[in-house]
Symmetry: C2
Subunit: 367 residues, 2 copies
């Protein structure tokens, strides 16, 4: 395991955990929501906007950056932190999910995956070694193993083969990884099959990664299965390492994940919803296109400290959204990201004060 | 003339002027570039972004706000300043230009103009009185007379009829205007016919407006005609009132306008150019899509104090622009507006120090 990544547990409350992860770019308080900056930008938000939301870490995507602008360009500009002017922690996803989900052309063998570029259809081949090197060139603080994301509908024999291949690839990523200033995280797969999840956990933790991610969920399965599998898997993971649930960004889901002992989660939903004119609030998700907001004077969320809520009425935001003004997408994104970061911060405070159950019962319901 | 709008001339240098216009929302230093916020938002920029650029005044458009969200909504929200959260001076254009230029369906008579909405094709009728009332409801500090913008190709007899109608409408706007906390500006028309410009000036200044605008130029005529007509007209306007040249936003044109004694100018070009991936610099207008910027380390404009130039490389900006990331449009808009505001500020300092000719000879050439 890489050394700079001390993970200190400050408090627990039930399975919920309040921790601090040390990284070369500062300490990260967990549990935390990670805004997604797929192409080295969290859509519509500048680094100073993100600092204002209190984002502790931002995620970028190795698949997209491999194609545009290319890892060589990013490395030549001094790495991803300097390139995107973000000096707090960064995490890159390995591109495993994108290779399998974008374009529908992936052909897998035991050595790696051949696939066509989403950008221009050209042929490419990723291996655990090449993707590890790619993420070393990009230079995020936390990088992910290259895994196979099997289809949600895969049969059990295929799923079993897949988790074994993912574990073999994880060992190869581990072997290829050289940068001590980066933490490499393993990824547990296995669909919603709890026995396969157990096997995947065992095969992954024996490789001793700095942290562990739960992948391959929230991909179309029914929500109770997502939560059951998340809880089951989280309990099997070593308590002294950070746990990352990949792809979760609704308020109720975040609270469920924290209750299950998850430390990190990410999702494009809050920024995508914003670009569709939707705002996260304690009333649920508001559609700003609704005519009821035409002359609504109040802020999106009373008491919210974000610039949007401190400054603008729902009426003005509705005007911007209906007129397709870019400022509207920006202001809603700023609010939605703040809303989820605030939710995780309040959960953390509740854990520290031993009142997480109480917090959870008053938290926003699903929307 | 409305009273709160003292215009103090601090310095002159040749025909160039450095003034201060008092408004109910603070003092405005001239010459100044006015960023255009057509639909109550300067595209991609928040009010705090605009404050950071040092914008002294923002322009909005009565035509667009009449349709969306409607003057009643804006008035109900406390007026345009509160609606868009901008507490410095605001100017609304009367919608004259839009009525005649959008949709090609305007039918004019001496009382007003019938036209179809750009938004849904519905029939509307604007008169000098209704447009003055509309701008009073919106509540900007400076409002404009409702004028006829005759086609650039109009024959002289039509142009003559048009400037007389515009003068008659100006008198009706003057009569209908009631708010003492708003300055009403007259607009001089007459195409590139200097005799008609002279007649239009005489008919407009005899109505004694708080300031005078030069309209109907930069609409397709050759640039030397624009500048000749601008210079000729500016000299005829009363020196003690602010002069506004409508629709000018290229760096060379701005310097020419200041040299001619113009105090205010506006244009959508800097924000539109930004949304097309173009940046204003002292090297000229850069197209960030150009592959030469792929690994260009420096800022857009060395020495520029804007957030974009302080923070990001040309390489990153090119990445954002080519990937159609909204952040790129925002960062380029922020820079382009800052660039033009800086140009006007530097011109003002040169006027105050009696070295405007020297400044002018070193200013950016046309692009």
């Amino acid at each position: 395991m890489t050394k700079p990544f001390n993970f200190i547990m400050e408090a627990t409350d039930g399975n919920a955990r309040a921790g601090v992860l040390a990284t070369p770019h500062g300490e990260l308080e967990t549990p935390c929501f990670m805004p997604v900056g797929t192409r080295a930008t969290v859509k519509t938000l500048s680094p100073r906007d993100l600092e204002e939301t209190g984002a502790g870490i931002v995620l970028a995507n190795a698949y997209h950056l491999y194609f545009r602008p290319g890892a060589g360009v990013v490395a030549g500009m001094g790495g991803l932190h300097r390139f995107m002017a973000w000096d707090r922690p960064l995490l890159t996803d390995s591109g495993g999910y994108q290779v399998f989900s974008l374009g529908d052309t992936a052909r897998i063998d035991n050595d790696g995956v051949a696939f066509k570029s989403l950008y221009n259809g050209s042929e490419h081949y990723f291996t655990p070694e090449s993707v590890t090197k790619l993420q070393e060139d990009l230079g995020a603080d936390i990088i992910m193993c290259f895994d196979e994301c099997a289809p949600a509908a895969a049969e059990r024999p295929y799923l079993q083969e897949s988790i074994r291949r993912t574990a073999a690839w994880a060992a190869r990523c581990r072997g290829a990884h050289t940068r001590e200033d980066q933490m490499l995280m393993g990824i547990v797969q296995g669909g919603i099959d709890l026995e396969l999840r157990r096997e995947s956990v065992e095969r992954t933790i024996e490789l001793d990664f700095g942290g562990y991610a739960i992948g391959g969920l929230s991909v179309g399965e029914e929500r109770p299965r997502t939560l059951e599998t998340m809880r089951f898997t989280a309990e099997l993971l070593p308590s002294e390492r950070p746990r990352y649930f990949m792809g979760l960004g609704d308020p109720a889901g975040i609270v469920d994940a924290i209750a299950a002992g998850i430390d990190m989660f990410d999702c494009v939903l809050p920024t995508r919803a914003a670009r569709n004119g939707r705002a996260y609030t304690s009333e649920g998700r508001l559609n700003l296109r609704n005519a009821a907001f035409t002359d609504a004077e109040g802020p999106l969320e009373p008491g919210c400290g974000c610039y949007t809520c401190r400054t603008f009425s729902r009426s003005y935001l509705r005007h911007l959204v209906t007129q397709k003004e870019i400022l509207g997408l920006h202001l809603l994104s700023l609010h939605n990201v703040t809303f989820l970061l605030d939710l995780a911060r309040r959960a953390r405070a509740a854990i520290e004060e031993g009142r997480f159950s109480e917090f959870r019962s008053g938290a926003p319901a699903g929307f």
